[in-house]
């Protein structure tokens, strides 16, 4: 049976927007494949129908039966990984053997703090400049 494995450099799972993401993909194929693609993408989870955006990909054409390759992507400035009551946004890289169904996926967090943004923790502050009205 064919296998495909993904790993990120230093096993990192937290990144800042705009950072370089580096990793490797290793495969063992029992059938000839046309290509192996590593895709950088984000998708939404939760109550809404899933939206998925493939941001970048690296393609290895005519892969030999067994090999390991490096890949690197530059993360965009947005969107951040977040989680709320209805929606979560998850970043991931996925390796797919084409054609076929073999794949591997690694999920990670992208945000300025390196932590997934928790919408419920949002605190807003304001000041009313007018004379006697109240600010929240």
């Amino acid at each position: 049976m064919s296998t495909v494995k993904l790993m990120l450099r230093d096993d990192r799972t937290r990144f800042r927007p705009g950072e370089q993401i580096e990793g490797g993909v290793a495969w063992q194929l029992d059938r000839r494949a046309k290509s192996i693609e590593v895709r950088l993408f984000y998708y939404t989870k939760g109550k809404g129908t899933t939206d998925l955006v493939v941001v970048d990909h690296a393609k290895f054409e005519d892969p030999p039966p067994e090999r390991a390759e490096k890949f690197e992507f530059c993360l965009p400035a947005a969107p951040y990984s977040f989680s709320g009551k209805l929606i979560s946004l998850v970043w991931a890289v996925e390796a797919v053997v084409l054609p076929g169904k073999q794949s591997a996926r690694l999920e990670f967090v992208v945000s300025p703090s390196g932590r997934e943004i928790d919408l419920d923790q949002t605190q807003l502050h304001g000041d009313r400049a007018a004379s006697d009205a109240r600010a929240g």
């Binding site: 799972t13 530059c74 943004i117 807003l124």
Partner: protein, 604 residues
């Protein structure tokens, strides 16, 4: 960069009850469509057999047009009656069939043309079945059955599609576990579906456009050159055609006229054929042409069997606008199809992303960039944003648009409902009220009245005081503060209370069975002003701090993070002010300047 919706493995999959219901619905479609297709194909193939029959000379013995009678005034037509004699293999036989299956024509002239083509006491060529020489026809059947069979096949396709939609979830859920997430989306499949759907739509609407619009209009323009001829009304009646959705009516006026001393008969009143609801209009036409009366008809000089009583435009030609509208929808759909992405599901290697915010004031959608733009993809420094300018915010929906929308919706809804209300009222007038129809219509009428009420509500709201909101700076990155200034113009003295809130919310759109729903959840709220003082309502300002550790505005087809200022004004005995002004909250300008993050830790 490709954005698409994952269709399989949807958590909102249809339940068992829904699947069974959809399956029954689909099976009815498949069964009925299949039955009609089989029926059409069987008859068509039978007609095709005559193409192998042997051409044989025959003599027409009798040729006439007869009216085939249904019930009193219902579904009658005109048949071409013929009798001919031929000799095959030395055996003399007599035939009486024009086609394998003789048919009745609603247009007299179609039967008349056959009589003119095969007059009595003339020779013709008939087709004789070599296996049974007693069987013969004058002409081969039409190949149109192939095109006709496509119509019920469409129902079979719809049924099969519904069945697949109802049950695909099960299989796909298992397959989805093994399948890559990025492979589950199938933009090519979606595109194919859109293409096939709108191609079929365009074909059928074009056919309807031809029969209900182009053909009658062509007839009207051709008839302008036809010869004005005196004619005599032989009979005049309103014909009733029974159908599953009730009866429809048509005008049938039979008249005779003479061309070059020869008498002809026709029954075409105008160029818009067929039948429709509304008996009174047809009865009025019939009353204008009573049997025995003299009238004027218009005859085609090139074909004296071709005549018409009314050669101008008639009110029912407006129905022709409907297929024209459907054709436009089909063209629009195909334009959308050709505009859909055809390329691979993923962008070219190294395509990366850049942000769009400066171009469109939004943050949410990264888009493809050139190959070497790693620097662009990095978090933007101060130079990345234009923070100097103040900006007047646009309201989400303009009050005028609300009124127009409400008027259109009320007109559309009440226009359709009024047709059925009229039918119900007719039954009451005739003294035989249809109770079921009347009771069934009550909720629809109530909704219609509600919509008329909404038109009045939004119209009155047009005269409300108008809030104008201005923010400075014009763009709001996470971790920054902005000033908001409000100003009320118009009749703000009517207001009892005035409130401005700043809110962040999630919006998730999902499918529930066959309908689409959107849920909203507010995760952050700041009350900026809540006042009863008219001086404070007239104008004011406040400063709002957006934290660095929250989410920027985000927009995908089904999921959104929306930041907005809400303005609410409470007016006694009058529609309130309720407006939303969206603000694009951008990602942080600079992480360090935003005061947030330490270097992300490496995972263990």
């Amino acid at each position: 960069m490709s954005t698409w919706r994952i269709r399989s493995g949807d958590p909102k999959a249809i339940g068992l009850f829904g699947r069974v219901f959809l399956s029954l619905f689909a099976l009815v479609f498949i069964g009925m469509g299949g039955l009609f297709t089989a029926w059409l194909v069987r008859d068509g193939l039978r007609d095709l057999e005559t193409r192998r029959w042997v051409k044989t000379e025959c003599v027409i013995l009798e040729s006439s047009v007869q009216e085939s009678r249904g019930g009193a005034g219902t579904d009658r037509g005109y048949r071409f009656q013929v009798r001919y004699q031929y000799t095959f293999d030395g055996r003399e036989s007599t035939g009486s069939r024009h086609l394998r299956q003789n048919k009745a024509y609603s247009d007299y002239s179609q039967a008349l043309r056959l009589r003119e083509k095969y007059p009595a006491d003339t020779k013709a060529v008939c087709l004789v079945n070599p296996r049974d020489p007693a069987e013969a026809v004058l002409e081969n059947g039409s190949m149109w059955f192939i095109a006709l069979a496509l119509f019920p096949l469409l129902f079979v396709a719809v049924g099969a599609g519904v069945l697949w939609f109802a049950w695909r979830g099960r299989g796909d859920a298992r397959a989805a576990e093994a399948k890559a997430l990025t492979e589950q989306a199938n933009p090519a499949g979606q595109r194919r579906f859109v293409g096939v759907f709108f191609t079929c739509w365009l074909l059928f609407s074009s056919a309807a456009l031809f029969f209900f619009t182009i053909r009658p209009l062509t007839g009207i323009f051709r008839a302008r050159a036809w010869t004005e001829t005196p004619c005599k009304i032989v009979s005049s009646e309103v014909r009733t055609h029974s159908g599953d959705d009730g009866s429809t009516y048509s005008v049938n006026i039979l008249y005779t006229y003479a061309v070059n001393g020869k008498e002809y008969t026709a029954n075409r009143y105008h160029f818009m054929g067929g039948s429709s609801s509304g008996r009174a209009g047809k009865a009025a036409v019939v009353a204008r042409f009573p049997a025995g009366a003299q009238a004027v008809c218009y005859v085609n000089p090139g074909d004296p069997t071709d005549a018409v009583l009314e050669r101008g435009f008639t009110a029912d030609l407006w129905w022709g606008a409907l297929p024209a509208l459907f054709v436009l929808i089909g063209v629009g759909g195909l334009a959308y199809f050709f505009g859909m992405k055809t390329g691979p599901a993923v962008p070219g290697p190294g395509s990366g992303v850049r942000m769009r915010e400066r171009a469109r004031g939004g943050v949410n959608r990264p888009e493809p960039r050139g190959a070497s733009s790693a620097a662009q993809a990095a978090p933007l420094g101060d130079a990345g944003w234009d923070l100097a300018e103040a900006r007047v915010l646009k309201r989400k929906v303009s009050p005028v648009v609300r009124v127009i929308g409400a008027v259109c919706l009320a007109a559309f809804w009440n226009g359709i409902v009024s047709v059925f209300v009229f039918q119900a009222m007719q039954t009451w007038r005739r003294g035989h009220p249809e109770w079921f129809l009347t009771i069934f219509l009550v909720p629809f009428v109530l909704v219609g009245l509600g919509l008329i009420g909404a038109v009045g509500y939004y119209f009155l709201a047009l005269f409300n005081a108008r809030p104008v909101l201005r923010i400075s700076p014009g763009q709001v990155p996470l971790g920054s503060a902005f000033d908001v200034r409000w100003q009320l113009t118009g009749r703000y003295h009517q207001l009892r209370r005035f409130e401005v809130r700043f809110e962040g919310r999630e919006e998730a759109t999902y499918r529930q069975g066959t309908s689409t729903a959107t849920d909203q959840e507010t995760f952050a709220r700041l009350l900026i002003v809540n006042t009863t003082s008219h001086a404070d309502m007239a104008q004011g300002q406040a400063r709002v701090q957006v934290p660095a550790d929250t989410m920027h505005s985000f927009e995908a087809p089904n999921n959104k993070i929306v930041w907005a200022l809400h303005v609410k004004g409470d007016i006694p005995l009058w529609p309130d002010i309720n407006e939303e002004f969206e603000i694009q909250v951008l990602p942080a300008r600079s992480f360090d300047a935003g005061g947030a993050p330490e270097r992300p830790e490496a995972a263990t």
